[in-house]
Every structure is written in structure tokens, then in C-alpha cells.
């Protein structure tokens, strides 16, 4: 499913990549941008969170006129009076104007990095309204947004994802390189399908989808750089020879209540020590009657 989504969203499609602080979704976002550039589409990027240099790292730059980066990173709140895109300009009219200014005949794909930045400064209803207007309007063909799900209340995340045609939630995978993508796809007929796939992203931003995750797989520990052998470099010998190891395994531990012990306690064996007691007059000492002459 992930490969199909990478091959291009339909017109009017709105894709959201949800990530968290433990696993960033920006690499997947860059893969989507790269895939769209390879399909010769026009891309407009609203960059709030990272600088243009950092976002452009690794992207296909063979046709720079197709990738338009709107710098909302240096001064998104207007603190330093640079004439850059501010967060307050995130509304339907301004965005349509911005996209139409630089775009050619084909409608463009709008990439928003990230929606969380905008949600921090504008109310969720306003953001949802703008997104819905963009979806309906003709200036923008598709929208791809990055959302940090752990930075907002569940209701806010839910409201934004309600508008989407597909949501990809990225989570850390078992091995270091891999990540798990949970995909929810809403088709035009209203049917909702869910998929789960393991993927990894190579250096050239191509996505490799591995098989679906098996729940029976045990968590693989990352290969450690040094295998510390605690029995090395000691002045005494801690290693066991084979005979010593066998003897160690055969040993019954003293406080383990095994079946043998139980039977030994219940049935005292023959020849084991027995206690014979003959009552002695001196043992019959009564505290309350020391001379043994009271008639009680």
C-alpha cells in the first residue's frame, strides 16, 4: 500500500504522515517529495520546521524550477521583520495566491512541514477550514502534511485526520533501520481500509517495503559494538570446563522443593536417625508447683 501511495495521490487527495518524538516522519515525507519530483510534478513546500538546506538534502535537484520552497523557517512569527512566509498567512486566499504566483499550467502539490507548527498558532477549526478549502479549490492538486501526533490532544489530531484521504502513522520498528507504517486509506466510496507494513528508507530516499510484521517475531537486539566478555582479562579463572558444566547442571539446589525432597520428608526412610525418649522425673518441673507437693 505504501508503494501505491508513493506513486501519487489522486486529485483532491490529502495525505497526513503522523510521527512521534521516538520516530521521525520527515524522511518519509522527503521520499514522497522525491517521488513526486520524479513524476515531474510541481511541488510547493511550506517549510516551517527545518531550513531549506536541510529539507533539500538528498532530494532530486535535477529540475529546481519544479520545487518551490517557501521559507517559513527563518521568521514565522514576524519577530525579525524579514519578508518571509509567516504562520498567519496560512489561509486559503494567501495560499492560493502563493501557489498561483509561481506555478505553471499543471496544478501543484502542496507539502506542509509541519502541520503541528501551524496548529500551535492557529486554532484547529481554522486550520481544518483552510485545509478543506484547499482540497476543494483548484489551485492545489494534492496536499501532503507532516503531523507530530504527540504534540496535540487526541481530538485535534483526530479532527485533522478526519479530512484526509490517507493517514500513515510511523512508529519505530524492531531493527534500527526499519519503521512500521500503519496506513488508513479512505476511498471515494467511503470504504476505509487499514494496512500495516514495515519499511526502510535508503539514502537516495527510495522506500523499501518489507513483508508485513509478524507478531511472533521476538524483538531483535541491535548488534552491540563490543561484545563484552566478562570472563576475559581477569586474574582468576571463571570459565567452566565441560565436566564442570555438567556437574553444575546436575546439582540440585538446596532450597528448591522438589518431588524427591517431599517424599523424603513425608516418609522417613529406614535406618535414618530416630529419637527415643524416656520420660525422666527431673524433666517434669512445674513452675507453679516446684516441690511437687500441692494437691491440685
Amino acid at each position: 500500500m505504501l508503494s501505491e501511495l508513493l506513486q501519487g495521490t489522486d486529485t483532491g487527495g490529502f495525505l497526513v504522515i503522523q510521527d512521534s518524538s521516538s520516530c521521525t516522519g520527515r524522511h518519509l515525507l522527503k521520499s514522497f517529495i522525491n517521488a513526486a519530483l520524479n513524476r515531474e510534478e510541481n511541488i510547493h513546500v511550506l517549510g516551517f520546521e527545518v531550513s531549506e538546506e536541510e529539507l533539500a538534502e538528498g532530494l532530486n535537484t535535477s529540475a529546481p524550477q519544479r520545487l518551490h520552497f517557501h521559507n517559513a523557517y527563518s521568521d514565522p512569527l514576524g519577530w525579525t521583520d524579514h519578508l518571509t512566509f509567516t504562520v498567519h498567512q496560512f489561509c486559503f486566499d494567501e495560499l492560493t495566491h502563493l501557489v498561483k504566483q509561481t506555478s505553471q499550467s499543471k496544478p501543484a502539490t502542496l507539502v506542509i512541514d509541519s502541520l503541528s507548527w501551524i496548529l500551535r498558532h492557529q486554532s484547529p477549526p481554522a486550520v481544518c477550514k483552510t485545509l478543506q478549502q484547499l482540497k476543494r479549490g483548484g489551485a492545489v492538486r494534492a496536499i501532503i502534511g507532516l503531523l507530530h501526533a504527540d504534540m496535540h490532544q487526541k481530538g485535534t489530531v483526530g479532527s485533522v485526520c478526519h479530512l484526509t484521504t490517507s493517514v500513515i502513522t510511523v512508529a519505530p520498528g524492531m531493527k534500527g533501520d526499519e519503521a512500521v507504517a500503519k496506513i488508513t486509506k479512505r476511498s471515494k466510496s467511503g470504504k476505509v481500509m487499514q494496512y500495516e507494513e514495515i519499511f526502510s528508507i535508503k539514502e537516495d530516499l527510495t522506500v523499501i517495503v518489507q513483508s508485513k510484521p509478524s507478531h511472533l517475531e521476538h524483538k531483535q537486539t541491535d548488534p552491540e559494538e563490543q561484545q563484552m566478555d566478562p570472563t576475559a582479562h581477569l586474574t582468576f579463572n571463571l570459565r567452566l570446563s565441560d565436566t564442570e558444566r555438567k556437574a553444575k547442571e546436575k546439582l540440585a539446589l538446596p532450597f528448591v522443593f522438589s518431588k524427591e525432597k517431599k517424599t523424603a520428608l513425608l516418609h522417613s526412610g529406614q535406618g535414618s536417625g530416630r529419637i527415643l525418649y524416656e520420660p525422666d522425673a527431673n524433666d517434669d518441673y512445674d513452675q507453679e508447683d516446684p516441690d511437687d507437693d500441692l494437691d491440685v
Binding site: 521521525t24 520546521e49 521568521d75 514565522p76 512569527l77 519577530w79 507530530h148 504527540d150 534500527g176 533501520d177
Partner: protein, 274 residues
């Protein structure tokens, strides 16, 4: 400067990655020893350092840096170190006296809802003045911003949102524009906050800063409890993709702080154990 930490992070005062945002965080522990490391590291690397000391007084940092072999008073005199002593400057706003001009940077104390724009202006002006090239000033290396610690701002009434905006602007100026480095300490008290996503709170701030940064050092106590010889564990997480294509890498170390520094070792290999 802790030599073992330098080798873990692959950096020396002569060569370190520029444009990095390093987030030092702790949970029910004290990670300020890492701030002292970075302070002495960058001063030794001949960088111009702007230090927002919101948690402690100047003499506290001076005393500890002296043990690490760096003189803060000298660095301040030479113009290498610009120190904002939060505790002292806040008095100038809270108890205004004639003859003393108040420091604009702490304006947020008067009205926390206004945000940290003036604090950002202070940072910008102190790090940008190095490019003026006056006679007699030495050429310093890349600019560095150190904040100890940023969670204090939350207790002073500033919202987590405003603090994240401040750190964003600092990152845009210090890391991207000036190609310098930034180190911030954020502290969590580790309480359960129920449904995550509440607007205020150190957890939200920690998550937001983690999204922005490129390297995190998370300090925690040992999960098994108190130990005399091991003071805790540090989890180092490289968030940005390294040049050789490796994905986010995580490493866990245990540490012990002593008089003249801290030693770091892999789990279970403390000198007290082996």
C-alpha cells in the same frame, strides 16, 4: 570537559559538527553536569558563547568550571562569554530601583503571556555583535548558545508554546544562520500526566524540543535504584541521519560524576563491578 563523552560524541574542541542542536534532558535526575561539560568544551574550542544561566548564579558556574580548568571570569572579560545571570537580572524587573536600568531580556517576567521575543533579541544581539569586527577583539569561532535550564521558564508562567517558539527562533539564528551550535537543558519531573497532549507541561516541552533537535542526551537514574558507584544512565540518540547513511542511532551508557569530571562506561562495566 569530559574526554570520555567527547569520544562517545565523536567531537573534540578542534573539530565538532556545526549547526547542531543538542538537547540535554533529565527525568528525576540532575543532568547539569553535562551543561558544565559543554560550557568548558566550547570555551576551549575558542567559540563565542552566550550562556543563559537561569538556574544558578554566576559564581556557581565559575567555581565548577575552575575545577574543569576553564576560567569564566577571564572569558567574560575577553568578550568570549556573554552571561545572562537570570537570578540577578530578574530582580531588576521585580524590584525596580532608580539608577539601575532593567534588562529587557527578562521582560517576560512582567507579563509571561507576551512570550520570549525580547529574550530572543538579547540572544541575537549578543551573538551577532561578533561580526562587527571592532579593533582589538579576537576572532572567535562559531557562536554557541547554552541554556540552563529552559524548564525554569515554564515555572515562571511562560507557556510551553512560547518556549518552543523561542527555541525555534534560536535554532534558526544560531544553528542555521550562524552555523553555530545550541545546547539546552530541559528537566521533567516524571509525573504521570494522564492523557498526553495537554497544553502546558514539561512533557510537552520535552517532546517539542526533541522534534527540533539533532542530538539528545537523556539522563535518568538507574532503573534498579540507588547505587553508590553508578550515578545513573545516559541515553544518547542521534536524530539526524549521519553522512554514511546510518539511521537514528541510540546508545546507552552509565556514568559516575566525580570531583573533576564524569566517567562514562558501557552498562555493567563500571570499575566498581569488574
Amino acid at each position: 570537559m569530559f574526554t570520555e563523552l567527547n569520544s562517545i560524541l565523536n567531537s573534540t574542541p578542534d573539530s565538532f559538527t556545526k549547526g547542531e542542536f543538542i538537547l540535554v534532558s533529565d527525568r528525576q535526575s540532575d543532568a547539569s553536569f553535562l551543561i558544565h561539560h559543554f560550557l568548558s568544551f566550547y570555551l576551549r574550542a575558542q567559540c563565542k558563547v552566550c550562556f543563559l544561566g537561569l538556574g544558578q548564579s554566576f559564581s556557581h558556574y565559575c567555581a565548577i568550571s575552575q575545577r574543569l580548568g576553564v576560567s569564566l571570569a577571564q572569558a567574560k572579560e575577553k568578550g568570549q562569554l556573554i552571561f545572562l545571570e537570570g537570578l540577578k537580572e530578574s530582580l531588576s524587573i521585580l524590584i525596580p530601583q532608580e539608577g539601575h536600568t532593567e534588562n529587557q531580556a527578562m521582560d517576560f517576567l512582567r507579563d509571561p503571556t507576551v512570550g520570549l521575543r525580547s529574550l530572543y533579541k538579547f540572544v541575537q544581539s549578543s551573538l551577532n555583535s561578533s561580526s562587527s569586527g571592532e579593533d582589538g577583539t579576537e576572532e572567535w569561532g562559531p557562536s554557541v548558545l547554552l541554556v540552563d535550564d529552559i524548564s525554569v521558564l515554564l515555572s515562571l508562567g511562560v507557556s510551553a508554546r512560547a518556549v518552543l517558539d523561542f527555541s525555534h527562533y534560536c535554532k534558526a539564528t544560531v544553528c542555521s544562520q550562524l552555523q553555530g551550535n545550541m545546547v539546552m537543558l530541559v528537566r521533567c519531573d516524571g509525573e504521570d500526566e494522564g492523557d498526553d497532549g495537554d497544553d502546558e507541561g514539561s512533557e510537552l516541552l520535552l517532546r517539542g524540543l526533541t522534534h527540533q533537535c539533532s542530538l539528545t542526551l537523556h539522563v535518568q537514574g538507574l532503573p534498579t535504584g540507588y547505587c553508590r558507584d553508578i550515578h545513573g544512565q545516559v541515553e544518547v540518540c542521534w536524530r539526524r541521519r549521519q553522512g554514511d547513511g546510518q539511521h537514528t542511532q541510540k546508545k546507552l551508557f552509565q556514568y559516575k560524576v566525580n570531583d573533576k569530571g564524569a566517567s562514562f562506561f558501557a552498562r555493567g562495566t563500571s570499575s566498581a563491578v569488574l
